[in-house]
Symmetry: C2
Subunit: 207 residues, 2 copies
Amino acid sequence: MSGIRVLVVEDEPLIAEDIRETLDNIDFEVSGVAYDSDIALQELAENTPDIVLLDVNLGSAMDGIEIADLINKKYQIPFIYLTSYADRSTVDRAKHTRPMGYIVKPFDDRDLFTTLEIALHNFSESQPKIELDLELLNSKVLAKITQKEFEILISIFEGKTNRQMADQHFISLNTIKTHVKNLYDKLDVHTRTQAIAKLREMSSYHA
Amino acid sequence: MSGIRVLVVEDEPLIAEDIRETLDNIDFEVSGVAYDSDIALQELAENTPDIVLLDVNLGSAMDGIEIADLINKKYQIPFIYLTSYADRSTVDRAKHTRPMGYIVKPFDDRDLFTTLEIALHNFSESQPKIELDLELLNSKVLAKITQKEFEILISIFEGKTNRQMADQHFISLNTIKTHVKNLYDKLDVHTRTQAIAKLREMSSYHA
DNA sequence: GACAAAATCACCCTGAAGGGTGAGGAATTA
DNA sequence: TAATTCCTCACCCTTCAGGGTGATTTTGTC
């Protein structure tokens, strides 16, 4: 079993129970089922699910999208919308809440399983971590960055000082300085913070 | 019309044409249709689509997942898998390629539309940009960070020097220094790069 | 072995960052 | 009004980063 805890927020008991069964079958744990927004908030606070299945249209105080807003603000856990219709304006409202998935009813076990798997995986990948890939970097930079320079770039990225790097790599402080200088030339920057900003920039855009 | 250019990679001509029609109806532009991986690669190189609809099972040299790998390596554009089945191992292989969506056949116009919209939106949001949110930050930090300090933190994040910040904010260099010092105390760091690293760290984890 | 590329190190100098202390003025609130 | 918080600024001092130049050694490749 995966042990992934799922909160189901769905005001239609029949569908909710169907989902619960499906989740049982595909090895997810249901941390709770909420029929309205009040229970949903309570469940979120008390049972800390790993992911939320969220019906967009709840016949309660808050609808799914409002709950999503709150999840983003308070909990930062991924959620997947369930909806029986998907008009333009709903999609527009919904997408601004950055759902990790969107399932249009009717859906079957496979839909649920794959969407959950992908959503969880994407979520863990979506954490603001910069993909530090030498090859990718070299395809976007003036001169080729060498292996050692790359290691040093990572250390800079991690907030290390030149002294710390020297100790860590067992080489002279002067050597570190040389590498850093060459790195700056290649990245076309002049300070370490600029180098970091450049890294972000380069991994953000595609040519 | 949205003007979003979609590449369809699907070896079954009937389905491919159906998708093309659907996309026309929902205001997406089809940049090309590829029936095998060779054509797909060519289309990717020549027509620079904004997003790719990718059949997992292609009867050609590379399957959809291999194409996805290549997209990640070379183009970094979002893609959505289309598949008629979704067994455990396929899902496992697929999710490592970080698709922005996953549609299980049969699907209808609504599925396609919402998945495309969400995928595109999530993609633009997923760019490694750190969500700099003062409230969120303050919930994770020793002492409360003030508005001005926050502005300065953003400037540091962007690679600015103290001098540049002083000019930009029309205040004295000494004042910037004071703010920076206070900021370091609150973030429990000692250098700007450490502050940036701390920011990444804090926006990566949820309590 | 010759050559090129990468890694190693040194020295010097300037400027920026980091850290300590103190202090005045504005705005908010008790 | 007194207290508090925040923003503002100054001075001093130490450390670190950044930039220029040049040199040796190691490594891999033709």
